[in-house]
Structure formats: C-alpha cells, structure tokens
Amino acid sequence: MSSRLALKFCGLQLSSPIVLLSGCVGFGEEYTRVEGFSNQDVGAIVLKGTTSQPRLGNPPHRLWETPSGMLNAIGLQNPGIDKVVTEILPSLNFSETCFIANVCGSTVDEYAEVTRRFDDSPIDAMEINISCPNVKEGGVAFGNYPDMSARVVEACRDVTDKPLITKLSPNQTDIAANARACIEAGSDALAVINTIMGMAIDVETQRPIIGNVQGGLSGPAIRPIALLKVHQVYEVAGPQGIPILGQGGIETAADAIEFLLAGATTIGLGTALFYDPLAAKKINSGIEEYLGRHGFSSVADLTGQLNLSDMQNTPASG
C-alpha cells in the first residue's frame, strides 16, 4: 500500500486510514473466507463487542433492511473475555493489521475488568463501547450521559496504558459535551458514531420485526447525521489533538473523504462490507487518487480541511 495512506492514530501506526468496524467482521478473520479479501488492506480491525461473561445475544430476528440501511439488534453475542484472550487473540495475525478490542459491560466494574484483561494481551488498543443500543443494561445507558460516560472511561483508564478509543452514541442531545467529558476522563481517541436507535413493525402480524423490539440503524441512511456529529466532535477534540474514527454509512472513497475533511483521522467500514466485501481496496485507491489530484502528500493532511470561510454554521435548518 502507498505510504501516503499510512498514518498515526492515537499511538498506533496504521497502513491505511480504513478501520473495519466492531460487530461487522466477527473476531477478525471471518472475512478472509472471501477470495481477494485481505486484512492487510486495512489499518485496523475492531473485534466484536466483548463482555466479561459469554453472551448468547438477542432472539431472532436480529436484522432488517430499511431504506438505504439496516437495523440490527445482535445483543452483544460473544464468547466472553476469557475465550477471546486465550483462544481467539493467539490465532490472529498481528503482522497483517492492528487489532482493536471493543469493550462492553453492564456495570462500570465490568468495563474495567474487561479492559484489564485486554491490557494483559497482545491487543493493540481498546474501544470502549458505551453506545450499544441493543442491550438492556450498560451501552447507551452510560453513553447518553456525559457524567456516566466519563466514569466508565476513567475506570478503564485506570487499568491500562494502551490507547483507549471511546465510541460515542448519537442518541443524545449534545455529543460535543460528551466528547469533552470523555477526553477529560483520559480517552485517547473518539469513535463517532455508533448506530442510531430505530424500529420496524410487521403490519400484518402487528408485531415488531426485530426480536429485541428496537435496533440500531446503520448504513448510508445515517451518513449525513454521522458526518455532522464528526464535525461537532472535531470542534472539541481537534484543538486537543484527540483523533476521531469517523463512521456511519461510509461506502465509497468520496464518503470517506467527507469524513476526513469534517475532522476524522481514520474512517470506519461496517455495513458497506455486507454489500461489497472488497470495498476497502477500492476506497484505498480512491483516497490515493484524490490525494494525488489535490496535491496532498499524506492522508493525515486531509483531516479537518473542511473550508468554512464565509460560512455561517447555524444549528437550525429550514
């Protein structure tokens, strides 16, 4: 891969700004089933959300297609931290890409415990998932309140020196305030955004389609929302040198570049992979082509290049 795509992200040296997102790529090797797919094409891979104990997750159906997107309510199905650390991590090839854990819990203590176990493992960094909309306890119950978010981040910070990325919820009034609280609590980077809560009903049976009643909306449907959230968080995080992993509906190089311009340092691919498992290759070359055409020597130079001169940025629309 071209050196122009290489960059530093909260202490990690990445070969590409593309990060494969939690919950979309299993525990790091699932997509290698697909011919032509390679973990080497991406800068990092975030593993499935992991809790202290194994979780079976939510009942079916867990997925539903919506206009330009999809709802999911997996419910953090995972084999538990023990199995992840002792069986899964040793089988991953860390020479191909960076691997980031996705830390979940129903209590502050659980977040800290899972973080501590990952600290004592080869994992490159940890993403604190305080924004999962699909579990009854934890998740957005923490992520939608800046004070609670900060408590979780502090507890994780206390038990690791590895890079900590906090994954912010879009399901709250003031994401910038939450970002500020997480940075103060010791977060090294921010992931913006997790899925947006949604629902679908089968009108024939008059029942919710998703087994968990509600789910998280992802895909292109949420892209403009995600882009604005990245822009808002960048105003807080940018000046403090805290990088952003931008995500939400990115499918093409042009989408990725929008997020970089809005303030992201790295960009995430989740739902797009379901349609095109080889999307990362195309996005890498699309970004490279753009860098060449606009005379940038490194992808890092794109971050926050949004030109706002002579613009009034008012929150209201219409």
Binding site: G23, C24, V25, G26, F27, G28, E29, E30, Y31, T32, R33, V34, E35, G36, K48, L56, G57, P59, P60, H61, R62, L63, W64, E65, T66, S68, G69, M70, N72, I74, Q77, E87, I88, S91, L92, N93, G219, P220, T271, L273, F274, Y275, D276, P277, L278
Partner: protein, 290 residues
C-alpha cells in the same frame, strides 16, 4: 478465529443472467453464469445476491443446481420483499454481484443408505441439488418428497420409478428427477393431479409407517422448507428414531460469519449455543434445533 480450511472458500463474482423464467404462483427460476461458485457449490449451500443498487442488503438464495462444466447456478425463489421483487425484473444478459457458495451442505450418513429428502415450497431447491449430485453415488438411494401450495414449477409426469408403499394417490413425480433415476413424489393440499392430498410430511409419515424396523434402520431424513414443515419433519424423525438434518433460513447481512445477525439457538450436549446459519449451517442436526 483463524482457520486455514475456511479461507478463500467464498468468491465474489459478477454473475450474468442466462435466463429467468416465471411460473404460476409467483415463482421464478433464475439461471446465472457464475463459474467460480458453480465449481464449488454443494447441496445445501447458498449464494448471497445483490438484487440491485436500490437494495442495500444482499439476499441469500439456496442453490438448486450447479453445472460445473458450463459454469452456471440455478435458483428457485418467490419474490417476498423488495429485494427479490427487484431481482425478478432482471433479464437475460444483466449482471448481478454474487457471493458464494456459502455454507456447509448436507452430510448424509453412509450407514443409512435410504435418504428421504423432504422439501417444501422454496425449500425444494437443496433437495433437487442433492438428488442430482447423488444420482451416480451407489452408496445412497434417494427418494424426494416435495410439497407445495402453488403449482410446482417443474414438469410433473406419471412416476415411472416405482416406490413400494407410497400411497397410490401420489402417482406423479418430477420428470427431471426421473431422468436422473431418482424417484420423487409430490404433495399438495391444492388438489393438483397426481399429488398426494395433504402436507408432504403426512405423505412421508404414511410411507415411513409402512416400513419394517429393519428397513427404518437404513433411513435418514433431510429437509428444507417452511418452519412448520421443519418442525413436522423433526417430529417424524423422533417418532421413527431417524437421524435428520435440516437446512435453515434466516435474514442475513454479511453472509460470511462476520455479523452474527443470522443465528439460531441450538441445544447441544454442551448446553445452549448460538450458531450462525450462514457459515456454521445452513444445515444443522434437527435434534439440536427443536
């Protein structure tokens, strides 16, 4: 988890539509040129198809036939939902992105030479594929029983291959299967000519109940179809003490094991566990499902 045996087993190819035929009852048979997937397809496996740019998610379709030399795959579907509604409008020469073949197929037990393959509705395709792939395998004798509440999208004719102890009202079979030397019988509540009048599992029960204990020891069940049919098939398996494998369907996102969106709860000797229909299945032991 890293497993060299699964790496590079699924290919992504632009499939060209060879033909798309519609049949009464809103059924479609789609044949596409997808040589790399055709070379590896097995009965029970499926392909994950992009149905058009306006449709965000792929749709899984069971493979009904695969022709290795000519490089085509064939599917049977009913257009439920926006994705397949879109797919049915595609015509010869158009291309669609195909991810496949995916999934573990049926693994019939050679100690049980008599396979009763039960297919219902759009669950019929894997049974056709199974019959075709085992036609020259002298370890097994396959009897296919199919049920449908809409006209069968295949040519039926008076069964030439006799099967002892099937009720005489089930007098028709699928012509193509007859050509392969595989006996088949059809069931429907709709009263079609030559069909057993009732559910396919009722037809199966009548046949099984006439077998001796010794004969039953040679029988195994394979099934694919709507949930009620799968449950009834499992009841048959339990009543007659037969091994039984079922191919399941569930909504899918990735189709390659990455999202855990397609899981089914299995009751294993080690306790309850969630398995992904796409890559851990779609074929599972019926006794672990129901």
């Amino acid at each position: 988890m890293s497993d060299p045996t699964t790496q590079n087993t699924i290919c992504l190819e632009e499939a060209t539509i060879i033909s798309q035929q519609s049949f009464p009852g809103d059924q479609y048979i789609l044949r596409v040129h997808a040589p790399r997937s055709a070379a590896r397809a097995i009965p029970g496996s499926f392909a994950h198809l992009a149905c058009g740019p306006a449709i965000p998610m792929r749709r899984p379709l069971s493979i009904m036939r695969a022709h290795q030399r000519k490089g085509w795959l064939e599917f049977l579907y009913k257009p439920v939902g926006a994705g397949l509604e879109h797919l049915k409008k595609q015509t010869t020469g158009e291309t669609l992105s195909l991810l496949g073949p995916i999934g573990n197929g049926f693994t019939p037990d050679p100690r049980r030479p008599n396979i009763l393959a039960i297919g219902g509705g759009v669950g019929i395709p894997p049974m056709i594929f199974l019959a075709e792939s085992l036609q020259n395998d002298n370890r097994f004798e396959v009897l296919v029983m199919m049920g449908s509440e809409v006209p069968f999208p295949f040519e039926l004719s008076k069964a030439g291959i006799s099967v002892s102890r099937v009720p005489p009202t089930a007098s028709y079979g699928v012509t193509l299967l007859e050509e392969w030397g595989t006996p088949s019988r059809v069931a429907s509540k709709a009263g079609y000519e030559g069909c057993f009048q009732g559910f396919v599992t009722e037809l199966a029960r009548i046949w099984l109940s006439k077998l001796s204990a010794q004969e039953l020891q040679k029988v195994q069940l394979l099934g694919c179809g709507p949930t009620d049919m799968l449950k009834a098939t499992t009841v048959l398996a339990k009543n007659f003490d037969l091994p039984c494998q079922l191919a399941l369907e569930e909504y899918m996102a990735c189709g390659v094991g990455g999202c855990a969106g397609c899981t089914v709860l299995l009751h294993t000797p080690q306790g309850p566990t969630m398995k992904r229909v796409c890559v851990d299945g779609p074929v599972f032991d019926a006794y672990q499902i129901y």
